[in-house]
């Protein structure tokens, strides 16, 4: 067994040797540009890319014509959301998503909200200028808006309903187990809703969303469904047909492929349209211009093929390892809580809070194991994980969380080592924790007036 042990497979995964082997020729002699239609170098590159496109499509039950290669899932998420909002702006501008989505979704939505707000601010100035018959400065808006009753001004209201290029966004809460309520999702849909974006499996807590049910709802309501499927694809069965997914983001490096390559699935039947974000030579059917990263795409294809082939066996193996880790820790330590649904969860995923122990301190003391923490102390901000907070996890428990991500190359021996290490270090840190001592003495920590910072 080699140290340190890698158990942060949510963040990224090592390259599978089979993937590397497939890539090497395209980094050496077969260096052609897949867009060069006039010679053998180009044809070879193009054929390799098309093979990879099929391999990726097959993993998610799509046709190869529905796969658009991108630089990774962040780009795929941006392209899906901004692309749909721009293309369908005359139809509506409302997006529904979850508070527990990845920042690639949340920050993209926030950007679209800002665009809309800026446009509305301009319209306000324009309309108030008309009404006041003079130039209006931003600092005068509040006063004049009241004077001219802008809120009930028919012209302004009509203008405000015109497409802005931005979007209105509803960020839905999740239930305490981390899953979205279908009733709440259905209730949030308005006549202006064009897109629902809900992830497949959560990167922090590993909880799997009811994607098929969401797809069914979207289809019934005539709303497009985008799914950030990065974490779950290759680990849990994912099928765009069975799940009625219209757009899906995936990434190679989360399934033992190379970094810097991903894909956006864009449905053909019924056809989904998106406006491109990158203009250029019209690669990828105009949806994503730019010379294709052939070697990485080939690696992505191989990673998808291996994932599809290994999935049933590997999922069962990871589930056994995860349960061994979970029960091994929980049988020996009290006051340990699993964050998010245990039932609806990726097999290799475990996010747990160790009461009265701070997550980053625990990470430091188990430095032979690479994991992540939802504690704010690992980041520049002092807020603990927004995902855990959205589940209603108390702040002190959010500071005490550790994310274990088991993957293809973890072994039982490693799991047993990690159990021993974690149990030992949690005990040591609890011996050093005033909170643990107080809790053991029966003091209600909530009754104490803490000095906030």
């Amino acid at each position: 067994m080699n140290l340190p042990i890698y158990m942060d497979n949510h963040a990224t995964t090592p390259l599978d040797p089979r993937v590397l082997e497939a890539m090497l020729p395209y980094l050496r002699e077969d260096f052609g540009n897949a867009a060069s239609r006039n010679h053998a170098f180009g044809w070879k590159a193009e054929a390799a890319v098309e093979k990879a496109r099929r391999q990726v499509a097959e993993l998610i039950g799509a046709s190869e014509k529905e796969i658009v290669f991108t630089s990774g899932a962040t780009e795929s998420d941006n392209l899906a959301i901004k692309g749909v909002i721009e293309f369908y702006k005359s139809k509506g501008d409302h997006i529904i998503t979850l508070k527990t989505e990845h920042k690639a979704i949340l920050d993209t939505c926030k950007r679209l909200e800002r665009v809309r707000q800026e446009r509305l601010d301009e319209l306000k100035l324009l309309r108030l200028g008309q009404l006041a018959e003079r130039d209006v400065q931003p600092e005068d808006v509040a006063e004049l808006a009241v004077k001219f009753d802008l809120e009930s001004d028919a012209t302004y209201k009509k203008w405000a309903e015109l497409p802005t290029g931005g979007a209105r966004v509803t960020y839905l809460d999740v239930e305490p187990d981390g899953r979205v309520s279908l009733e709440k999702l259905a209730a949030a849909i308005t006549p202006k809703t064009v897109l629902i974006s809900v992830m497949f499996a959560n990167n922090e807590i590993g909880v799997v969303q009811p994607v098929a049910e969401i797809g069914k709802l979207c289809r019934e309501k005539g709303v497009l469904f985008h799914c950030d499927a990065v974490q779950g694809v290759g680990k849990v069965p994912f099928d765009v047909e069975a799940m009625n997914v219209d757009l899906a983001s995936i990434s190679a490096h989360k399934m033992y492929g190379p970094k810097g390559v991903g894909a956006l699935y864009v449905r053909r039947k019924p056809r989904v349209r998106i406006a491109p974000m990158v203009d250029g030579g019209g690669h990828e059917r105009g949806m994503r211009s730019g010379t294709l990263n052939v070697a990485s795409i080939v690696g992505f294809g191989m990673a998808a093929e291996v994932a599809k082939q290994d999935l049933p066996e590997e999922a069962a193996r990871l589930f056994r390892l995860r349960e061994r880790l979970r029960t091994g820790i929980m049988e020996q330590l009290d006051m340990v809580v699993v964050n998010g649904s245990l039932e609806h969860r990726m097999p290799g995923s475990l996010n747990i809070s160790f009461s009265y122990v701070e997550g980053e301190a625990l990470m430091m003391s188990i430095k032979d194991v690479a994991v992540s923490s939802g504690s704010a102390c690992t980041s520049a901000s002092l807020e603990p994980s927004y995902v855990l907070r959205a589940l209603g996890v108390e702040e002190d428990m959010a500071h005490s969380s550790i994310r274990f991500g088991l993957g293809r190359f973890n072994t039982e021996e490693e799991v047993d080592f990690v159990i021993r290490l974690v149990v030992d270090k949690v005990r040591k840190l609890r011996d050093m924790s005033p909170l643990y001592e107080m809790a053991k003495e029966g003091i209600d920590l909530k009754s104490i007036e803490w000095t906030a910072h």
Partner: protein
């Protein structure tokens, strides 16, 4: 987070972890921070009648810097008079441990813990004398 060697050294071999009898009239207890903020520091000082700090113990819930900061101040205050201990500032702690900017908070907590423990001791003494 890349830490200095001193932080790691104190974190791995913390000095003076433990509990003193909080009912002892010569023991002052300072409890600062908040679980919701991710750090709580408890510093206990045993202070002689002549005002010399004879012993110090800490327990801390917090990150590596918070643990190292508390460990360091227990070493520093021992043997000092109350007045000398009051002059220890968070800047001294941050400089000694080479804390990164986002962790300055931990050194502030350590300074506050010393002041809170001494205040507790003074309160106890005042109560005894009245």
């Amino acid at each position: 987070m890349a830490y200095s060697e001193k932080v790691i050294e104190h974190y791995e071999n913390p000095r003076n972890v433990g509990t003193l009898d909080k009912n002892d009239p010569n023991v002052g207890t300072g409890l600062v921070g908040a679980p919701a903020c991710g750090d709580v520091m408890r510093l206990q000082l045993k202070i002689s009648d002549s005002g010399v700090i004879e012993d110090a113990r800490f327990k801390t819930f917090g990150c590596g810097s918070a643990i190292a900061s508390s460990s360091l101040v227990t070493e520093w205050v021992k043997g000092k008079t109350v007045d000398q201990a009051m002059t220890i500032s968070n800047k001294d702690v941050a400089r000694e441990l080479a804390l990164p900017p986002v962790k300055i908070h931990c050194s502030v907590l350590a300074e506050d813990a010393i002041k809170a423990a001494i205040e507790d001791f003074k309160k106890k003494r005042a109560a005894r004398q009245s």
